[in-house]
Point group: D2
């Protein structure tokens, strides 16, 4: 396996730089062949010390650079659609960070473009599917000994929100992870959404409704509730309990070390998603590289990216209207059956 897969990385910001490091030093079987970022200096800093990694200002130039065999899109969301279509035009497999494309209309255009190609090239960056705990939860549900899942209780908490985070982003950026996880865990589409707003925390920036409580209904009648709280102040917590007919399974509760000192026993709570899900990111990119080198595309598809967008859009509408809102999904193409 020593001829390494040449990857073009689009975007050299926080996420892009982390993926560049991952491709260079963590994942085996791949190399960074090209990087594109309008901020060329930033891109240069991200590839410092990596032989053979050339820097470009334009995404298309990176796709066309010598040795590029696959693309990892980590640029801002609005640039994704053009980048995905450019990769499709060149027949390059893509790993695209979420959101695939902001807005379900654009997302559906990607699905349609890939259906026209007639083969899958895109894998979407829903990295929770590669997390060990989520993997065990999925396995327990699929194996069936707990019976049919009836409800998922989810919690998604961040210490604090970045500047300019909006109430809508609690749904379409944060809860987007639960949207994909719920669809994947349950194997069902989400069909309606209601958003309930408790009183906001005094720690939330002015104008931000935080926390929020989101209820999804699935095609089969299961219920998914999500507490999303992006200024909880105390840690990064992602929990999920699947309540089934014959039992329940919970993840996100575990601790690595328990420290007992005056008056209490304390377990660490992760402060950041890059800590909590570091292994999941590694496994995601490793799995993509291995599949691509074998000529395959696996993992979350463009359909998954589109469905997540469509549900998130309905969620934002539900948040604004205060009432239950149904989700409109285009028919599912056979390519994603």
């Amino acid at each position: 396996m020593s001829d390494l897969l040449g990857v073009a990385v689009l975007g050299a910001g926080h996420m892009g730089a982390d993926h560049i490091r991952r491709l260079d030093r963590v994942v085996s079987g791949a190399r960074v062949a090209a990087v594109a970022d309008p901020d060329v200096e930033r891109a240069k800093r991200a590839v410092a010390g990596i032989p053979g990694a050339r820097v470009h200002a334009e995404a298309e130039a990176a796709l066309d650079a010598p040795g590029v065999e696959a693309v990892l899109i980590a640029s801002p969301g609005p640039a994704h659609e053009e980048a995905l279509l450019a990769a499709f035009a060149r027949g390059l497999p893509v790993l695209c960070e979420k959101p695939m494309v902001p807005g379900s209309r654009g997302a559906l255009r990607i699905v349609e473009a890939e259906v026209r190609l007639g083969r899958r090239l895109a894998q979407i960056g829903f990295m929770r599917r590669y997390d060990a705990e989520y993997g065990r939860l999925k396995a327990v549900l699929d194996e069936g000994r707990l019976g049919r899942p009836l409800m998922l209780h989810c919690v998604h908490r961040n210490v604090s929100s970045p500047p300019d985070f909006t109430s809508a982003m609690l749904i379409d950026s944060s809860v987007a992870h639960e949207i994909d996880a719920a669809r994947w865990l349950l194997g069902e589409e989400l069909t309606a959404v209601t958003v309930v707003r408790p009183r906001s925390s005094g720690r939330a920036p002015e104008g931000l409704l935080d926390p929020q409580f989101v209820l999804f209904e699935t095609a089969g009648g299961a219920l998914v509730d999500v507490e999303v709280f992006v200024n909880c102040g105390f840690g990064y917590q992602v929990r999920c309990e699947a309540v089934c007919e014959a039992g329940s399974a919970r993840i996100g509760e575990g601790h690595g070390m328990l420290v007992t000192s005056a008056g209490g026993a304390r377990e660490e709570v992760a402060q950041d998603y890059l800590v909590r899900f570091a292994d999941a990111y590694d496994r995601e990119v490793q799995a993509w590289v291995e599949a691509v080198r074998r000529g395959r595309v696996t993992g979350p598809s463009a359909w998954d990216g589109y469905a997540a967008s469509a549900v998130a859009e309905a969620g934002v509408r539900a948040q604004e209207s205060g009432v239950r809102t149904t989700v409109d999904l285009a028919p599912r193409p056979a390519l994603y059956a």
Copy 2:
């Protein structure tokens, strides 16, 4: 303290017999002076071996029996109103099992009667307030270091429902406990309720919607969500997480013993509420006996009983209509300030 408080127990069924045993053998400072049950044989079995405990077919006869100084009502709900009014008429302090009176109209009549008396005689049997874990949760919330509570996530699961359990009873019998606990923990009235129905478990008896998911809003804008699942099959679980501005506190997670054997580590899950809350029942009756012997009435009031009824009624209407339903509460009399 050795002149014992003479208690008349109304009702000698499952709950009544347990309270008779508790007054006789667990609680100090009290004795069973009289028992009333239309099924006199059942009442006789319940007092077998207890010297001085006389059996009556009629509640009023028990209240008028010699040595009766206080009343514990454990008869079926429809008999409560008459029994409470009879106790009030005699000036006897009462511990009344929940529901105080079925339906908020009857409950309000009890409040009005006690207000006319001008002093509290009734304590309502919301025994979770006497549970050690709930007590610690209340203390943490009151002490304020976690900031304002924003949400309560509650779970209420039973192994299986008794025969003839109806969908409405999930709200007005089971969730009734969470209604009182939420009002008490948050110190706020509940003002609206929405009931969501996930698909039902295959283990639920035909015609029973089980599980259900209930959302309460409080006067101050906090949100209380309750999973109620009375045929969960695996255990009796009562959990509550209070999510606050600066932290969260959870109860109902603890284990007493962890047994590790082939392939897993297992902790016991209680199968019955009488096991899980045995100590709370003991503490509740002990606290009532001690207060009464000092001429006081403390604990959950008739107002608490009424408010729980009014919220549960709105819950049943929300369950039927499928839409958010506001709770109508009479003005709170000064007696319960």
Copy 3:
């Protein structure tokens, strides 16, 4: 059951006053009939407000007071032998706090005196046998599905030691609880003991070897290790793991409430044994009262008190000598078979 058992309490110090409160207000079926303490004022304070409880300076006067049917010994250890013999002489059932008698020679004299009587009158205050968690552990071991127990790993920690606590007292006062618990859980006598001294904590008072690590061997070859650390600084912790042929069972790990705030999730650790074992003390005294009222003596016997003394004595010798020391036990009388 309303004619209450009249109990004489010997000793009105910390433990005695707590038992007086317990007999008066927690345990049903008993009343405090007499109290003896050389410090008569202290005894008067302990019975304030309890009708019928008379105070004496002399133990024998309390035993002979009218209405006394049973004795609870909570005086200092050196007074126990005389008090036990006085109770035996009067045929009074006794609940005697640990140590039954300081030193195994005196303890054996109690055993011999009770054997001469030909019936059991004494129950020794090893209250862990009445703790719910220990009870579950015992039940799991007896039921046999984990196979034969091979090792017990025990931890016994206190926040800080009282003044004048000596290195020997870590064994004969603190580890005494584990000595009885191990004998009871395993159903085997302890036959040898080794004491290992790690470096002492800087928090230990000068001259006190703390922590210590004690190894017991049983007649059947099981191993019991005990960390005893009486100035651990952070809490009162009692843990026990039974490692068996087909699994392990652990107690003392559970939490009642988990509070998550900045950076960590914290569970409370009890600070005091009266908190951790409050229910066990209640159950112990309740069980004794109920048995006595039925004319029985159950619970830990004088033999158990003697065996604990003999093992603790060997432990103190092992601590001094630094080598493994065998335990000498007299033959077990048939009365305790």
Copy 4:
């Protein structure tokens, strides 16, 4: 970093094949350049599909193969000394699986040889130092807020032992991990050891003393106790609690998923060390590759390998003699200061 480090792997058995896979598909920055195993067919199976990986029957041939820049020794222990010296003679950095050399005399010869070279070439495969939980425990101890460590309580359990596992191997193969972990966590040499034998499990193969209980003393007076139980039947468990002057820290307790079904809540227990420590192995080899490519040798040294051997040898003598046995260590060369 895309010119990959060429590694010769000695040994293509269970461990060797796993490392070959790791170098090829998990670790970035390295490639398998040569493999040596007397069983050439086994070696060929291990490198199937890896371009450029040549197979040799002789270790020295692999070391001399073109492109070899570093050596990973995963051959049986008796072959290690010769392989290490051959690598030293060629100036090749080595990652050597534990035990470095069986027996402390041979281990000391390696130390002496490396001291003669005057620079470190060897890293020993004590992979627990690369485990995330051990890393956090080490960090907490080093940071000092829990005060000085006084005791380590360790548990090391396997489901079942491989054929031909001897009583001595419980010490010099299994407890060897705790020996290194204790030295590393505490930063002190181990100076004496006592082995206590509880009764053996009925599941232990005939002639095998299992479980055993091992006590180590450190130069500074700390105590390390280890339960080693290689036929516990229920899982692979590695736990460590560091008891310090101002608190305790525990690892190895955490769970990834809690499944509640009829009557209990169950968490998974790993069945195998390759599952529990998979990430640690990955990080260990990755760290070695990165260091070597930068011309450095870090991680556990030949001195650590020698010290572990010397302690294990004393442990086996203590096991045979039944008495406390001191550990003889040669003076520590300045190279390992």
